[in-house]
Symmetry: C2
Subunit: 505 residues, 2 copies
């Protein structure tokens, strides 16, 4: 190499009118800003609403940009339960005799987070989950103090407290005292997510946040050092330059609708379920904007997925087998965990074996069909095409131990153990790609508990925050997911990000 | 938001003397360049050497920066086989009666690449693999035309052609005519990788490439549009600014030594094997530099891992079982695929069951120990703590079908099927975290076949290329990996990246 001493002036190639989430608009190219505010929040789901409230209550001037024509995002499609507890218990927990210790709550959350569980984030959440309940109530979210025991999903009764995870199941029950922690808002029908966002949205409006619907954020505005100064937003067909004095908070959802990103990060998803869960805008644009300024995206292979083998809860006493006729998991864990274990089996066919003592018609939303009925397990084995002696031996071993209330193979709790010995018998088809429920993505931008977006070297990117499924938050392991963890993360860390951005000087 | 019409002049905060791979040095901050060349290659393993040759033979002035004090990188630790074939066969294939059809080669490679196999990349490689063999010979890599049949790994005899993948095994044998495609250079001992890199390195020197050892690339130099202009390199304790007129090619290896990145992308790796495969510099700095200018990193959860159950090849006739006493895969596939299936089982304990008819002392490098010996399978089942009736039934079903040359459960080929009915019997411990071989990472920057680095929106980042394990190349699925695929990818696409950067005007 020869030394040179010339300064370089490279011509600019990109058309400033063609913006892309994965290429920041450079600050020097912004002749003037059309708008200016303290904090810009992108996305009006639960995370965006909470971020806006968090920033506005700290006194910041806040502008919220939402690509859809109304609020809600994918949060509005959820059942609406929020994973809360610790600190001696929420009102619903205490009213039903559950004194949830913070350390049990913390240990459960850490196990749920998998091998890269975020200690700082989990600690902050565990210590403040009761306060967060109070905050939700203060925003206007209504909760009863009633408890539905047993195995329920999306009851739609307006009752509050449910077992929404794997708390009672192995291996969680070995490390943390079980407690129900799913808190549903008081609303009849599966409208909990809708109610939650509407309530938070009303508060956003009350706080004077300026809201733009039909406003698509198309690129961040950054300087040469990747400091974020604002966002280019398309409103009514025109590009507008919006400056955020304090920071931009990306709450634009996950990437489950972005085909290329799904192939590049979670290529096996396509075989899992016939469809994905999204209100229509989880296109990864939030994550891509973060990456465009050097943000690292982590755990991008992790998905929430689930196989609702109950209701009816009696089916939890059945056993799941793979194509080799083998059992492979404790069926009493949260159905999301069960689904992950199904997805690890060779082949796509999974069957739930039940007997006359426990069979009820599967709930309609489960998409579970009867594959075979017979008077003996030999008959079932033959009818669903299992190799002779496989399924039959699996049931024989299971029944032998279940009669004693034991499951030495997978440690199902005795409450859900029963010999499958009452004919007629049935195999229910719980196949991948058919019976699985819509999935969504858990991977996203690497962030501090304040929401500050980090590079791969854990440097903070000045002026940029993320919350909700645009970042990788508390829920980051499909195997540990429990219902209510994503909305808990969205609302709590949305607040944190809003407050952090507001306080920035 | 209120409109503003002021231009912004933000103070620079970062100290120009503290550089980070995940934060580009901005071009405007470079007062003068210390060096200038056409193409800068970072890393002197097989990919970097091939990139330098590719660029220099196209007439470019090339500078190579290597952080270590000598060439080789992790490539030099490999056995040195390269996955080649198609086009009617290489000399070694033809000499041994294998006429490898390009379409069989292509189909096998596409299956090996998993659900996101890169069609364009695979097509280019399949069509040109015979030419690439010729290129390797032209560089001076010596090959015999001898073939070692059967199941061998790292023979160290100087012979050339081996079965290095899952070609004969299910499901690959259903879709592509099997052919051996691992090509080892002629060298005695496990020195193939060393010989390969030394040979290419000699060629690099002959071509007049300027080489700097002990030279750590610490940051890319980019302008406000993420166009890459060069690199900041630390040499003898000082930061030097190096300009690349055409482009920078990142060939800096994977990230297996970067603890934070491993936790964030492949958190389960820690339980797989006691150590990782690296010559010492797979710290993810190449990937981080790419990310710093908006490059997307993909399939970051995928690892090469392997469990060498052979030699002795007779052990392929044994059966692997998990902690539930269940078989779970066809043991005749490539040990890397077998290892993935082991890693999906519940629990860390895996056993290889053998009988007196096939037992030989495991090779020392396999780290496989005898866990139990007995005169009956009942005795083995008891001794290794399996639930009664599980292991015994697994062997019973296996033996019953193996006697007929069938494996209806996992489709092992008849050549490797044998009833395990000759006492004494043994269980060999092949546990995760103990018997598994060192792993390395397969995920990396998203690139075109030219090596051009892409954003998450598949926009090209001008002036930036990547090859080898800094990018996500042909091998991107642990389940499909075959020996020789990574070096094949490193050398072939290293050449492509070098040529593309050289030709850039």
């Amino acid at each position: 190499m020869k030394p040179v001493h010339e300064s370089l002036a490279m011509p600019r190639e990109s058309d400033p009118a063609s913006f892309s989430p994965s290429r920041p608009c450079r600050l020097a190219d912004v002749e003037s800003f059309d708008f200016e505010t303290d904090v810009i929040v992108i996305g009006f789901g639960a995370a965006g609403a909470s971020a806006a409230i968090g920033a506005a209550t700290e006194g910041a001037q806040v502008t919220l940009l939402e690509v859809a024509s109304g609020n809600g995002g994918t949060s509005s499609m959820a059942g609406g339960d929020i994973y809360l507890g610790g600190n001696g218990g929420t009102p619903a927990q205490r009213a039903n005799g559950f004194e949830d210790d913070t350390e049990d709550f913390y240990r459960y959350m850490m196990m749920a987070g998998g091998p890269d569980a975020d200690e700082a984030r989990t600690r902050l959440y565990a210590d403040n989950a009761l306060d967060h309940y109070t905050w939700l109530v203060d925003q206007g979210v209504p909760y009863r103090t009633t408890h539905l025991p047993g195995k329920v999903q999306a009851p739609g009764t307006g009752d509050c407290l449910i077992w929404s995870g794997s708390e009672i199941a192995y291996p969680f029950n070995q490390h943390a005292k079980p407690c129900p922690r799913g808190h549903l808002p008081e609303v009849v029908g599966e409208m909990g997510g809708r109610l939650l966002v509407d309530t938070l949205a009303a508060r956003v409006t009350d706080l004077g946040v300026e809201i733009h619907y039909d406003a698509r954020a198309v690129a961040l505005i950054a300087d040469g050092e990747s400091r974020v100064h604002g966002v280019v937003v398309r409103i009514a067909g025109e590009h507008r330059f919006a400056r955020a004095r304090n920071g931009v908070i990306l709450c634009a959802g996950g990437f489950v609708l972005n085909e290329a990103m799904m192939r590049q990060h979670a290529p096996h998803a396509a075989r899992l379920a016939p469809d994905s869960l999204s209100a229509g805008n989880d296109d990864g644009s939030g994550i891509r904007m973060g990456q465009s300024v050097g943000g690292a995206a982590i755990h991008m292979d992790e998905l929430f997925l689930t196989l609702p083998i109950y209701p009816p809860e009696s089916h939890v006493k059945g056993i799941l087998i793979n194509e080799a006729g083998q059992r492979f998991t404790n069926e009493d864990a949260y159905p999301g965990r069960v689904a992950v274990h199904c997805a690890r089996q060779v082949g796509n066919r999974v069957f739930l074996l039940v007997d006359a003592g426990i069979f009820e018609q599967p709930s309609e939303f489960s998409r579970i069909e009867i594959a075979a009925v017979g008077e003996s397990w030999q008959e079932i084995e033959r009818e669903i095409g299992m190799v002779e002696g496989t399924l039959v031996n699996t049931v024989r071993v299971h029944n032998q131990y279940a009669a004693k209330g034991e499951d030495p193979l997978f440690h199902k709790t005795s409450e859900w153990l029963k010999p499958l010995d009452e004919p007629p018998f049935a195999a229910l088809a719980c196949h991948l790609g058919e019976a699985f429920y819509p999935f969504f993505t858990l991977g996203g931008l690497s962030v501090k508990p304040t929401g500050e977006v980090l590079t791969a070297d854990s440097d903070v990117i000045p002026g940029l925050y993320a919350a909700g499924r645009t970042c990788c938050g508390l829920p980051r392991s499909a195997e540990g997911y429990s219902s209510g963890m994503s909305l808990g993360d969205c609302t709590f860390f949305g607040r944190m990000a809003g407050a952090a951005a507001a306080r920035k000087t």
